[in-house]
Amino acid sequence: MPEPRLIAGIRCDEVLTHLSDYIDGVTAPDIGDAIEAHLSECGWCEEFGGRFARTVTLLRASLREPEEPAPDVTRRLMAALEEA
């Protein structure tokens, strides 16, 4: 990537700065609109933004899969609490 480009009124490095807020849906409306317009015209940011968003989405999905401690872990915890 040569230099950040100004597309739709926002530069690539500015899009980078706001990426997390953008995928979390907490950017100010005007910034969100500018990012969306930039992504539709900038292949580099569209590719990187997509990869970034997919990674966060997959992380979120994997963390929200139930991971319970094994039954014996729970038994030992309850035993420790009985002694506390």
């Binding site: 690539c12 980078l16 590719e47 990187f48 990869r51 990674t55 872990v73 915890l77 609490l81």
Partner: protein, 188 residues
């Protein structure tokens, strides 16, 4: 019968009601376990940390100040317990790097094959290995943010930082995760 809210259970536990505290454990054990597993090196360490956290919660139930949720309070105790177990070797947050430097490590500005990368990401083992490459501080904020019910402000309060500071740390941790995934894919 409607289950009592956490606050009522904790108040009862503060008065010595073990059954109420057992209900607290039942509700929040999975979340505490997930965080302890993410921040420690082994299931044994995670179990020790989880026990410490819940014992501390039982003994200190009357000290909960009522701010935030009971879950946030338990996760704070879990953080403290895991940090006592961790050897703070590679556990310190990385030195500050400019955002574009982090992003270039993650492949910002490079042409990649999106199909092969998407396929690689679907292999959960790649993601798990990438997570393991990160510092405990990075793993912690990623996990806290993505755990259900913990929005940005709650994570910031739990970490005792401002919301902008939390957002900055989160963004950097996410970029490091993307870079780590890229390394795992390259190594695969």
């Amino acid at each position: 019968m409607i289950a009592p809210p956490d606050r009522d259970l904790l108040t009862a536990a503060a008065g010595g009601d073990r059954g109420a505290f057992a209900a607290i454990v039942d509700r929040h054990q999975a979340a505490v376990w997930r965080l302890a597993r993410a921040l420690t090196h082994s299931p044994v360490e995670a179990e020790d940390a989880m026990q410490e956290a819940f014992v501390a919660a039982w003994k200190g139930a009357q000290s909960w100040d009522g701010r935030g949720s009971v879950r946030s309070w338990l996760l704070t105790l879990t953080r403290h317990a895991t940090f006592r177990h961790l050897r703070r070797r590679a556990g310190e947050p990385p030195r500050f790097e400019p955002l574009d430097t982090l992003a270039r490590s993650a492949g910002w500005g490079e042409q990649v094959d999106p199909e092969s990368l998407a396929a690689a990401l679907e292999r959960r083992v790649i993601l798990q290995r990438a997570l393991a490459r990160l510092s405990p501080a990075d793993r912690e904020i990623l996990i806290l943010r993505e755990l259900e019910e913990l929005e940005g402000a709650a994570v910031a309060e739990l970490l005792d930082v401002s919301l902008p500071a939390m957002k900055s740390r989160l963004h950097r941790a996410r970029l490091r995760l993307v870079a780590a995934v890229r390394e795992e894919v390259a190594d695969a």
